[in-house]
């Protein structure tokens, strides 16, 4: 369970998050939607302590993570798998070394055991025989899946996805959506998916939350989102340029 309360952060002159309240119940997938530049990535970076809020609180399993010293923060981070927007694979390493890195750094597993786990996790995301390849030679969809394999290498309790389907073709997007779903069922992981892809939001979300101008302006199930009378949410999920949200 992650509890976010009154989270505020100002970057430069812009109040990016202005009092975010959000609950992520254990075992559920919560989708945070919002337009580009509303602060979705900033919110997700605050959760794992890559950015530090000016005020507010983030509790992970009852433990406050805001202001936690690095050592304890790292213990919390080990319970998280993170899929970055671009995959964030290390291009100096092979695919296999990428996926195995957290295991080499944080476990005492032998290299044979690590290799076995790497192959297994790559299979979970539908990849075989790619261990020796370099990230530069992979397609966008493969890179995201390798990133996902690395995120689940340590059996995380939480997975954060930053725009997992952005920039992918519709078929690859569906592959990723199914993976997010299947991981939730397979390892009972709790997920936060940050996206502006409504298709993906409906597919993977147990709950949707909409971020707008620094606050969560709506939370509800996909059905509630579809039938909402809130004009702002309605406009966003319909993808219309007319309504209370003004295109900049």
């Amino acid at each position: 369970m992650i509890k976010i309360r009154d989270l505020k952060i100002k970057l430069g002159k812009k109040q990016v998050l202005d009092g975010v309240d959000l609950d992520i119940p254990t075992g559920k997938t919560v989708v945070v939607m919002g337009r580009s530049g509303t602060g979705k990535s900033v919110l997700f970076k605050n959760i794992i302590g890559l950015m530090h809020p000016d005020s507010g609180s983030i509790e992970v399993d009852g433990q406050e993570v805001v202001g936690l010293p690095e050592k304890q923060l790292n213990e919390v981070r080990k319970r998280f798998g993170v899929l970055f927007q671009s995959g964030a694979l290390f291009d100096s390493m092979t695919v296999g070394e990428n996926v195995g890195l957290p295991l080499r750094e944080h476990t005492k597993l032998s290299s044979a055991e690590i290799a076995k786990r790497v192959t297994e996790r790559l299979e979970w995301v539908g990849l075989q025989g790619v261990e020796a390849m370099k990230p530069a030679s992979l397609s966008g969809g493969m890179r995201k899946r390798v990133g996902l394999a690395r995120a689940i290498a340590m059996d995380p309790a939480y997975i954060l996805y930053d725009e997992p389907t952005t920039g992918l073709d519709p078929i690859m997007s569906d592959v990723i959506n199914r993976l997010i779903r299947s991981l939730q069922q397979r390892i009972g992981v709790t997920s936060i998916v940050v996206t502006h892809d409504m298709n993906s939001a409906y597919h993977v979300g147990d709950e949707l939350a909409m971020l707008h101008e620094g606050r969560v302006v709506f939370t509800g199930t996909p059905d509630e989102a579809r039938s909402t009378s809130d004009p702002m949410v309605h406009q966003f999920i319909e993808g219309s340029s007319e309504g209370p949200i003004k295109p900049l």
């Binding site: 690095e70 213990e75 981070r77 964030a88 694979l89 290390f90 750094e105």
Partner: protein, 266 residues
């Protein structure tokens, strides 16, 4: 008019505060590197990899530069000695200027350009493609994982490269002496032996050690602070190279004073 002065004042004030903050942040990175040194050294493979990048792959460049440095030193000494100082002293002049000054400083400037740029570009790219965030998110400290191996490798390799540069420069000088100055090998070597002081060699190597730190830390610092895509990586690379070259020359002056006035002054 008043406004112009006020603007100018504000500009200067902001610039000054920025520079002070910058020095503070660099000092923090240096401190962080020492704090993470122990754990960082345990991943010894990473250090070896960087020694290869920083040291082994600079060999060819250092070789060429030092060969010509020695040769030029010999030509210049020959010209300036003419009718003033007997040429039999030429060996010692080449030796001492090379091991105290030319070897360490030119090696640092060359390696600073090559390695400083490559560190800043690599880490800068990692920053803008979220790879450094990914390390943090995996609970792998980026200073331990990226900075410590580079700094340690540079601290070790710069003195090693300098020893090599010294040797080759002396060979370069010797070739010029033999071929154009009519100084025999025996004269060249005897003169070097007569005026060789261990403290000269040491002072050069101590300087090289500091230069190694400057190069690696500047590359890491500007790489880590990169923002804004490919353009940002270019800016970071330029800053790393310029600042490490400037700092090498400034610290050369400071170290020359410290070493020869206070430490090797006997």
């Amino acid at each position: 008019m008043m406004e112009l002065i006020e603007d100018g004042y504000e500009y200067l004030r902001d610039k000054t505060l920025d520079s002070i903050a910058e020095v503070g942040r660099i000092a923090m990175l240096v401190g962080d590197t020492f704090r993470k040194l122990g754990r960082g050294l345990r991943s010894f493979g990473l250090v070896v990899e960087q020694m290869d990048h920083i040291g082994v792959q600079s060999l060819m460049l250092v070789f060429i530069v030092s060969l010509f440095t020695g040769a030029v030193a010999a030509v210049q000494a020959g010209y300036q000695f003419a009718n003033v100082v007997p040429l039999k002293f030429i060996g010692s002049v080449i030796l001492r200027s090379v091991i105290i000054e030319l070897g360490p400083v030119l090696t640092a400037l060359i390696v600073g350009g090559r390695v400083g740029a490559s560190i800043a570009a690599e880490l800068g790219t990692m920053r803008v493609t979220e790879q450094i965030d990914a390390l943090d998110a995996m609970a792998i400290n980026p200073v331990r994982y990226l900075v410590v191996p580079r700094v340690v490798a540079a601290l070790v390799m710069l003195p090693v490269l300098t020893i090599m540069a010294n040797t080759i420069a002396i060979v370069g000088g010797w070739i010029v002496c033999l071929t154009t100055l009519d100084v025999s090998t025996h004269t060249y070597v005897t003169s070097m032996k007569t005026f060789f002081f261990m403290k000269d060699l040491w002072s050069g190597l101590i300087k090289a050690f500091f230069f190694g730190g400057i190069i690696a830390w500047m590359g890491c610092y500007y790489g880590f602070r990169t923002e804004g895509g490919a353009e940002g990586v270019g800016i970071a690379t330029t800053r790393a190279v310029v600042s490490s070259c400037v700092l090498v020359l400034i610290s050369d002056y400071v170290l020359a004073n410290v070493l020869f006035r206070f430490i090797f002054n006997s």
